[in-house]
Symmetry: C2
Subunit: 391 residues, 2 copies
C-alpha cells in the first residue's frame, strides 16, 4: 500500500452514539445555573490503547456536529473533517482514538435550546441557560470520563473549536499533552461581534420567531436563519476565493437581469442558505454565536497559572486570507502563550479560501497537523523540533 | 479672517429644488425602455460664472441625496458632504458653482420605484425599469442643460458617486475638465455583489415586501431594510475603526447578558438600522445596489476611445482601511486610465475609518481634493504638477 493509497483510505461507515451525562448531579454552568441530565451525541474512530492516552479530541466549530469523519449510510458526503481524520490521514485513526461530540447548546443530538425543557415539556427556547466555552469543556471532560480516556494526546479544533481547545488547555492542562488551535482567536473583535449581531437580529426579528417559541407553533424562522447563514458564509470565505470561484460570472446569461439570481455567486449563497435550514436550528445559532462573543480566556489575571505548572504544547495555525479570524488573531495568541513561557508552534498557511481553509485539504497545513501529533514528546523539546521542521 | 475661520464658515440655510426633465421626449434607458418625464431634486451652492464653466457636479453614493452641503431649517445635521463643500472648504463655493442631485431610482425627490407609475396611478414597485450608471449620467446631463452649465470644471463622487464620475468622463469627456473618483471601483468583486445580494434577500423575503407592492398596503419591509443596512454598514467601516470606537465595551454592563444589545457595537448598529428607515426606501435599495453590481465601464472594447480624444484629468483616491472598495480597486482603475495615456493623480490615504472615510474630514484627503480642483490646467501638465505635490 503506497502513501497515496493510505491517505485516501476511508474510515467506512460510522455511527453517532449517544450518552446521558450529569445524571446523578447536574452540571453547574459558568453563569451559576444548573443543567442536567445532558444528552451528548458523539462519534469515535480508532481504538483507545491500554494506557488510555492515545485519544485525540476534536472540537467542532459553530455549525459542526459529532460526525467529523467516515460515512453515514446513504449520505452523499462524509463527516465534516474527513479529509483530516482517518487511517493514514493527518489525524491517523490507526494510531489515535479520535472523539468528536456535538456541543452543548447544539442541535445535532446534544442537549440544546430546542431540546425539551423537563420543567414544561416544551422546547426550552430562550429559557435555555446562557452558555460559556468553559461549559462546553466541562461536558467534553465528562464524556472523557465516560469513555475512560486518561489523558488526551491532543485536543484539536478550528474556529470555535480552537476556542474550546484553548480554554480546556488553560483550565485543565493536565488533561492533555497538546492543543491545536486552528483559524481561531482568543477574543472576538467588534467587527466579529457585529456580524454575529446582524445574524441574530435577522433570526429574532423573523415573524416566525415568536420569542423563541416557534417550534410549538410548528413554525421556523427560516428567512432569518437563511439570511444569517448567507451573510456569515461571506465572512468564511475570502474576496480572493470568491473571485477565483465565481468572479462576475452570470448564472443564466447576461440578458436575464433582475433581482433574482443574476450572478453565480448569488446562486451559491442562496444554496448555502437553503441547505443550512435542513441541518441547523435557529436557537442554537443564537446561543452558540453569543458564546463566541463573550469568549475572552486571557481576561482573568490568573488565566495562565495552571498551564504554566502543567505545560501544554500548542500548535497555533492561521490562513493568510482568513479575515474572520485573521492571522493577527493567531499572532496575538502566540504572543500570549509564549509570554507565559509555553511551547508554541505557529504557522500561517497560504490558502485562497479564507476562514473555511481549516476545513479544506491544504497540503502544508495537513502535513503540519500530522507532524504536530506525531512528535514523540509533548513538552518543550517537541515544540523546538517542530519549529525546526517548519523553517 | 484666518484660514481656520474660513474653513469652518458654513453655507447657511439651503433648499432642495425640483425640476421636471424629459418632458418633451422621454429618456431612453440603457436597457431600451423609455422613462419620462423625470422629476429631479437638486441643490446648488455658489454661483455660475459668465463663462458657465466653473461648475462642480457632486455625484452621491448609494444612500445619499441632493442635500450635500449647508443646512435645512430645523435639521440637526448639515448636508452629507458639508465638511468638503462650502465657502473656504476644499470644494470652495466662493469659486465653484456646486450642483448635487438625487439619483434616478432614488427616494429623496427624484423619480424612483416608489414614485407613481402614470400607467397605473400606483407606486411603480418592481415594474420600475432596471437602471444603469449611464442612465444616471444622462439625467445629470439633462440637469446641466437646464442649469445652462457649459462645461463642468469637475465631476466629483465617492463610492457609487465615483462610478458616475468615471462613467460620465468616459462617455462624454467633453463635458468636463476633471473627474474625481474617490473610494470607488470600476467593477464590483464577487464578494461586493454577495453582500448586496444578502441585503436584497433580506428585503425581498420580508413578509411585508409583497413583491414590491407594500406601499399600497400601507406596509413597509422594515425588518429586511434594517438588516440590509446593518450588514452593509459593517462593510463601510473597518475592523480597526470598530475596535477604536467600540472594542468589546459592554453597552450596559457585563452582568446583563442575553440576546439583546449587550455590546456597544450592537447598539450602534441597531441605531444605524433604525435611523435608515426614516430616510430610505426599500425599492430604491434594490434598484441602486443592482446598478452597482452590473457596473463595468471597461467591459466595452471602445470604452476609452472618446476620452482618449478629449482627455479628462483624473484624481483617483482610496483609503487604506477601505475593504468595501479596497485600494486595489483604485490601483486597477489607475492602471486602466494610465494605460490609455490619461493624466491620473492617485493617492491612497491613511485613515482608520474604512470605506466611510470619503465622507469624513481626513486632512490629507481634503487638501488633495482642494489642490486637484484648484490646479489651473485640466490637461497633462496639471496632473504632472499634482504628482509632484503629492510626493
Amino acid at each position: 500500500m503506497t502513501e497515496g493509497d493510505i491517505a485516501s483510505h476511508p474510515l467506512g461507515i460510522v455511527q453517532t452514539q449517544s450518552v446521558e451525562l450529569f445524571t446523578e448531579r447536574p452540571l453547574v454552568l459558568a453563569n451559576g445555573e444548573s443543567l442536567g441530565p445532558i444528552t451528548v451525541a458523539y462519534e469515535t474512530y480508532g481504538e483507545l490503547n491500554e494506557a488510555r492516552d492515545n485519544g485525540v479530541y476534536i472540537c467542532h466549530a459553530l455549525t459542526g456536529d459529532a460526525h467529523a469523519a467516515g460515512w453515514h449510510g446513504g449520505d452523499k458526503h462524509p463527516g465534516w473533517w474527513d479529509n483530516l481524520i482517518g487511517p493514514g490521514k493527518p489525524v491517523d485513526t490507526r494510531k489515535w482514538f479520535v472523539v468528536c461530540s456535538n456541543l452543548l447548546g447544539g442541535c445535532q443530538g446534544t442537549t440544546g435550546p430546542s431540546s425539551t425543557n423537563p420543567a414544561t415539556g416544551d422546547p426550552w427556547g430562550l429559557d435555555f441557560p446562557l452558555l460559556d466555552i468553559s461549559d462546553f469543556v466541562e461536558v467534553h471532560r465528562e464524556l472523557a470520563r465516560h469513555l475512560d480516556v486518561r489523558r488526551w494526546h491532543a485536543v484539536v479544533g478550528g474556529s470555535m473549536g480552537g476556542m474550546q481547545a484553548l480554554d480546556w488547555s488553560m483550565r485543565y492542562p493536565q488533561d492533555m499533552c497538546n492543543a491545536a488551535v486552528i483559524a481561531s482567536t482568543s477574543r472576538l473583535t467588534a467587527q466579529n461581534i457585529a456580524f454575529s449581531a446582524v445574524g441574530r437580529e435577522a433570526i429574532m426579528r423573523d415573524e416566525s420567531f415568536h420569542d423563541g417559541h416557534f417550534a410549538v407553533r410548528g413554525e421556523n424562522p427560516d428567512v432569518g436563519l437563511t439570511i444569517a447563514r448567507m451573510m456569515a458564509h461571506i465572512t468564511y470565505t475570502s474576496e480572493e476565493g470568491f473571485d477565483e470561484k465565481f468572479g462576475r460570472r452570470p448564472q443564466y446569461g447576461a440578458s436575464n437581469r433582475g433581482f433574482g439570481v443574476d450572478f453565480a455567486v448569488e446562486s451559491y449563497l442562496e444554496h448555502q442558505g437553503e441547505a443550512f435550514l435542513s441541518r441547523f436550528d435557529a436557537l442554537s445559532y443564537l446561543y452558540l454565536t453569543r458564546v463566541m462573543d463573550y469568549f475572552d480566556p486571557f481576561g482573568r489575571d490568573d488565566a495562565l497559572d495552571l498551564v504554566r505548572q502543567h505545560p501544554v504544547s500548542y500548535l497555533v495555525a492561521s490562513f493568510d486570507t482568513d479575515w474572520r479570524f485573521s492571522t493577527e488573531h493567531s499572532r496575538r495568541l502566540v504572543r500570549q502563550l509564549e509570554g507565559a513561557g509555553l511551547p508554541v508552534t505557529f504557522r500561517d498557511f497560504r490558502s485562497p479560501w479564507g476562514h473555511d481553509s481549516f476545513l479544506l485539504e491544504v497540503p502544508a497545513y495537513h502535513e503540519t497537523v500530522r507532524a504536530f501529533l506525531e512528535c514523540e514528546s509533548a513538552t518543550h523539546p517537541h515544540a523546538h523540533s517542530m519549529r525546526e521542521a517548519s523553517r
